[in-house]
């Protein structure tokens, strides 16, 4: 046996000490190598907040809905364009702010992970836009119809999500879990006060949508300015059409509005004062801050979610053109990570039809 082994190894005599040394060297290397991989991948150190942890939490709270976004699952695709008036160039060198037109694709949505949820007036409404998609200098943003965001940190968002799980017996979140969450997150309590003072409008069409997180605009001369952006509706008489009253009442209204003619929003950029927080989306900046109107977003068509339209876009807030840079708001990296995890999951899943069916809505 010994002879066969040594011959196979080119006639080198093996001694036990050398074999053990070799195995020790290999064992030591593998321990360091695989240990580093396991540690980096978060397979050994518990507690930290991971994208997969968010995916699991969305599933626990909203159930399993393969093929849909884990949050803002219910939505409809839109297209249109942005007419820049050139005023944004004072702050940002981004091509989108040069005078001229940039195509826009987008998606209106309701917060929450249930794609079949009935429309409610106080569910946060989303409008996500991708300017110049899918070009190299595209700009993606996912906005809400809220004056401030509810959380200042990824942990806050996670804790709120977990606490919001509906108890089947009562049809409401567990009041004790809610109380515990609010006690631990005073920033959310303050944000809820601000949000309550500005009740939602009647629908998507007359909503103001805000980016909420702060970003930096960088102009041609390299000057950086902290900003937040928002879309303010133009010329909307509230409640222009009779409501459908069904489970898709807000989406039905939106589909009829865009069907009856292009819907427009002003793209406003608000400049921070040096004292304004740029890393806390729960705090509103004072109303007297300078606002620059950079142009008009016009949405001309609405379409049921399908392969190739906004359904397949991950509205990652870190997809930015030269001239727009992220702030150190911790929500930005977390949104990017969690959206990517959601996008990866749903990309590999079978897709079911959206509850919002444009063809089924009579104009």
């Amino acid at each position: 046996m010994q002879n066969r082994v040594t011959r196979a190894l080119g006639g080198v005599p093996l001694d036990r000490r050398r074999v053990l040394l070799g195995l020790a060297a290999v064992g030591g290397f593998l321990a360091v190598d695989l240990g580093a991989v396991l540690y980096a991948g978060g397979w050994v150190a518990g507690e930290r907040l991971t994208p997969q942890g968010f995916m699991d939490a969305f599933k626990r709270v909203y159930g399993s809905h393969p093929g849909f976004r884990r949050n803002h699952a219910k939505g409809v695709a839109v297209t249109g364009y942005f007419d820049s008036n050139g005023a944004g160039q004072e702050l940002s060198k981004a091509a989108v702010f040069r005078q001229g037109q940039t195509p826009v694709v987008g998606r209106f949505s309701l917060a929450g992970g249930n794609p079949n949820v009935a429309d409610m007036i106080d569910t946060p409404r989303g409008l996500a836009l991708a300017f110049g998609y899918p070009g190299g200098q595209q700009w993606r943003t996912a906005m809400l119809n809220l004056p401030v965001f509810l959380d200042s940190s990824p942990q806050g968002f996670y804790d709120r999500l977990v606490a919001s799980k509906i108890v089947p017996a009562t049809g409401k979140p567990d009041p004790e879990a809610t109380a515990r969450f609010l006690a631990a997150h005073p920033e959310t309590v303050r944000a809820m006060t601000v949000i309550k003072a500005q009740p939602p409008t009647s629908g998507f069409g007359d909503s103001t949508f805000r980016g909420l997180n702060a970003f930096y605009f960088v102009n041609e001369s390299g000057a950086r300015a902290a900003v937040r952006w928002s879309l303010a509706p133009i010329g909307k008489a509230p409640h222009p059409l009779p409501r459908s009253g069904g489970p898709n009442t807000l989406f039905d209204d939106l589909i009829r509005q865009i069907g009856s003619g292009p819907q427009q929003w002003k793209l406003l950029v608000t400049l921070a004062a040096p004292t304004d927080p740029v890393n806390d989306a729960t705090v509103a900046w004072p109303a007297q801050r300078r606002v620059i109107e950079t142009g008009t977003v016009t949405l001309t068509s609405v379409e049921t979610e399908r392969a190739g339209n906004a359904r397949d876009i991950n509205f990652d807030p870190m997809v930015l053109p030269d001239g727009i840079e992220p702030s150190d708001d911790p929500l930005l990296s977390a949104r990017s990570a969690v959206y990517a995890a959601s996008f990866r999951l749903r990309a590999g899943e079978h897709k079911s039809a959206s509850a919002v069916n444009v063809g089924a809505v009579t104009l």
């Binding site: 196979a8 190894l9 080119g10 006639g11 080198v12 005599p13 093996l14 050398r18 074999v19 040394l21 070799g22 195995l23 060297a25 290999v26 290397f29 593998l30 190598d33 695989l34 580093a36 991989v37 980096a40 991948g41 978060g42 930290r48 907040l49 991971t50 994208p51 997969q52 968010f54 998609y133 899918p134 070009g135 190299g136 200098q137 595209q138 990824p154 392969a307 190739g308 397949d312 876009i313 991950n314 990652d316 870190m318 997809v319 030269d322 992220p326 911790p330 930005l332 990296s333 977390a334 990017s336 990570a337 969690v338 990517a340 995890a341 996008f343 990866r344 990309a347 590999g348």
Partner: protein, 206 residues
């Protein structure tokens, strides 16, 4: 002395090959760790993703140079301790490693392209897309990228383990073919000769 030096030279990879090898080793190990870390964190995801993409493009460039270098330079012969069956293993795993090192950055680049994302490296350099924007294609490429990452971890672990076993247990100076040596003292050289001779008479001395 002259004959010995020439033999020693023939047992080594060229300096360029050795630099490219260790550069690749450092880059690949770092990029794999950054990759595993980035998909398991929310707070550092954006920063790590930027680093990961840039490292990936650097690896692609280094590996292309390596392939050209490998095709134009014959590597030194394997030590006589490598049998016929192991020889096939060595050649196959070397080719698999080259193929993976070339494919992995390209799959990463293609998957970002298929998602419709701009491919931004080195801070603000925007590379063109190399795949059509298609969510199904993205999904296939994204899962492939993970499978390739684990394959790389496995092949690199096997590669290093094999070299360590050869160098420590068989004392055939397998690792020395790829290392850089510091100038030695006379007594170290003498020790080297004494140690090398009985174990592997065919191997060279310095």
């Amino acid at each position: 002395m002259g004959r010995h030096a020439a033999t020693a030279e023939a047992q080594h990879f060229t300096t360029v090959s050795r630099i490219l090898h260790w550069l690749t080793a450092i880059l690949v190990f770092t990029t794999l760790l950054v990759g595993f870390a980035m998909v398991s964190t929310v707070s550092d995801y954006a920063t790590l993703l930027k680093i990961h993409k840039t490292l990936g493009v650097v690896i692609l460039a280094v590996v292309i140079i390596r392939v050209v270098n490998r095709l134009t330079h014959r590597p030194p012969p394997l030590p006589p301790t490598v049998g016929r069956f192991e020889h096939i293993l060595v050649v196959t795993s070397e080719m698999a490693l080259y193929a993976l090192l070339l494919a992995q950055p390209l799959v990463g680049w293609a998957m970002v392209s298929a998602a419709g994302h701009p491919v931004v490296v080195f801070g603000s350099l925007r590379l063109p897309g190399i795949a059509p924007v298609d969510v199904d294609l993205y999904s296939v490429l994204r899962e492939t990228h993970s499978v390739f990452a684990f394959l790389l971890v496995a092949i690199v672990a096997a590669h290093v383990s094999a070299v360590l076993l050869h160098s420590v247990t068989l004392r055939d100076r397998m690792l020395a073919r790829m290392t850089f040596r510091l100038p030695r003292t006379r007594s170290q050289q003498a020790r080297q000769v004494r140690r090398a001779e009985p174990a592997a008479p065919a191997a060279s001395v310095e």
